[in-house]
């Protein structure tokens, strides 16, 4: 791929402009959006839950080890797990994982349609293909990914509990006390802002990679890889920008 940032950014913006123009038939977009919500949401629930439970568990164990024999109260473990999860780990790690799972899927699905002339066939029918193929995915992701992130945060805090309480590092009362201490609702706002921005980035960047794919299966594979790589880079970059802007 010829890497000209301005060229790709301009074409990306034009694609977004086409994607968010007026749909031909709202009902068809709604049906497609429901299908995508199922694919992205329900289809990713297991992997997100699995990763989150371990992230929570590892964070709790690591901090239990760090805080051992210090003057910091041990119940802080619950507090640290909760806040690190809500502010950073749940939105960022979940979206990095989804960039791999959902992003590569979107790039290959749309890229495959481009290669099999399905997109040409739709264009000739008079369908706005950018809108029909991309908008339902983006809207579905904007609804479902924040929900997945919220579930990830809850599962992660639970994972921390499961790691430190049964193993005897901390009592259940202490962990729960920590998890309920110094709660700042604004952190949840940050979590949702991040998850919405990341959802938009990972779906549109992946769709862009698939929509403009040329060549054969090798190029489709590259597009799928690029979808994950560029989505991940942008998620990390915007994680930093949002952290600067909102904290």
């Amino acid at each position: 791929m010829d890497f000209n940032i301005l060229y790709h950014f301009g074409r990306y913006l034009m694609m977004i402009n086409d994607a968010f123009s007026r749909p031909e038939k709202v009902r068809m977009y709604y049906k497609e959006m429901m299908r995508q919500m199922n694919d992205i949401g329900v289809g990713s629930l297991t992997i997100v839950a699995l990763i989150s439970v371990f992230i929570g568990a590892v964070t709790a164990i690591q901090f239990a080890y760090q805080l051992d024999s210090t003057l910091v109260p041990m119940y802080y473990i619950g507090y640290i797990v909760r806040d690190s999860t809500i502010i950073e780990l749940a939105p960022t790690i979940t979206c990095l994982v989804l960039a791999g799972k959902v992003g590569s899927n979107i790039a290959s699905e749309i890229g495959g349609m481009r290669q099999k002339e399905h997109i040409d066939a739709m264009e000739i029918m008079g369908i706005n293909t950018a809108a029909y193929l991309i908008t339902p995915k983006v809207l579905a992701a904007l609804v479902v990914i924040p929900l997945l992130v919220a579930i990830a945060a809850f599962v992660s805090v639970t994972g921390g509990y499961l790691a430190v309480v049964p193993s005897g590092f901390l009592s259940a009362t202490d962990y729960i006390q920590g998890a309920r201490s110094f709660f700042e609702p604004y952190n949840v706002t940050i979590m949702f802002v991040k998850s919405v921005v990341f959802a938009f980035l990972l779906t549109t960047v992946s769709a862009y990679q698939g929509y403009y794919v040329t060549g054969g299966s090798v190029e489709l594979g590259k597009a799928s890889t690029n979808a994950v790589v560029f989505s991940d880079i942008l998620i990390l970059l915007f994680d930093y920008v949002i952290a600067l802007a909102l904290t």
């Binding site: 031909e24 264009e123 000739i124 029918m125 008079g126």
Partner: protein, 256 residues
């Protein structure tokens, strides 16, 4: 009728089409023929708007296709049906869903009305009891017929077929050609077929346009092919010594 005027198309330094001017008539099977790389597919893509010409004009009746706004272009495209070389059927949809797709997108028909229309189109292309099958479960010839059914479901005024016979056995190819011809005459539509199937050219070419190195090399009716002294045409149509002998024999028979 579709008219193209002085069409040029380049990809970088590679000039694929060099000033083509021709017309495609209503109610006729218009064929674009030529060797691989002669610019047939590019010409078809320009006419349907999948590519933009470097220079030139394309008219659908009296409307300059290249000057249409996005909205007007989409409205015109609803009058266009296209059969792709690969059929381009949506793999995840059944035959019925594939044919019904344009109706779902552009009409407010009830489910029953859509089903009736889909069944009519499938019957029109001689397909029955395939509604619930997926494209991967039917043969290449059947896929082409489903492609035709999908192309005609919105009753188009213009039908484009990109190499409809490629990959098909001669008998099935003949059936597809006859189907395209029947639909063209029955609905009085403007049909453009990209082909290098000589059976198709000699049987159905009402208006044949021969491209050679991106230029218009010959144009005429199938009845003029045998007697034409255009060298490019003869080298292309009667490419093998066997076909050349057949041509000479046919000419002698005509004279005799």
């Amino acid at each position: 009728m579709i008219k193209i005027v002085n069409i040029y198309k380049s990809f970088g330094d590679n000039e694929v089409l060099k000033g083509i001017t021709t017309e495609f008539y209503k109610g006729k099977v218009n064929q674009v023929i030529g060797r691989s790389g002669s610019g047939k597919s590019v010409l078809l893509k320009l006419i349907v708007g999948l590519l933009k010409p470097t220079e030139g004009e394309i008219y659908y009746e009296d409307v300059n296709f290249l000057e249409l706004s996005g909205k007007e272009l989409r409205a015109l495209r609803m009058k266009i049906g296209m059969l792709f070389q690969s059929s381009a059927l949506f793999d995840s949809m059944t035959v019925e869903q594939n044919v019904s797709f344009p109706l779902d997108m552009f009409t407010n028909m009830t489910h029953k009305e859509k089903l009736n229309r889909v069944n009519y189109c499938l019957e029109r292309v001689n397909l029955e009891k395939v509604n619930a099958k997926y494209p991967s479960e039917i043969s290449g010839g059947m896929q082409k017929r489903v492609g035709i059914a999908r192309a005609i479901v919105l009753e188009p005024e213009y039908l484009f077929c990109d190499e409809p016979n490629s990959g098909l056995d001669p008998k099935t190819a003949l059936t597809i050609d006859e189907l395209i011809r029947d639909i063209t005459e029955e609905k009085n539509i403007t049909t453009i077929v990209n082909t290098h199937d000589m059976n198709s050219v000699m049987e159905h070419g009402d208006n044949i346009v021969l491209l050679h190195h991106g230029q218009l090399a010959w144009r005429g009716h199938r009845s003029e092919v045998l007697a034409s002294d255009n060298e490019v045409l003869q080298r292309f149509i009667f490419a093998s010594p066997f076909l050349e002998r057949l041509r000479k024999a046919a000419l002698q028979q005509e004279k005799g």
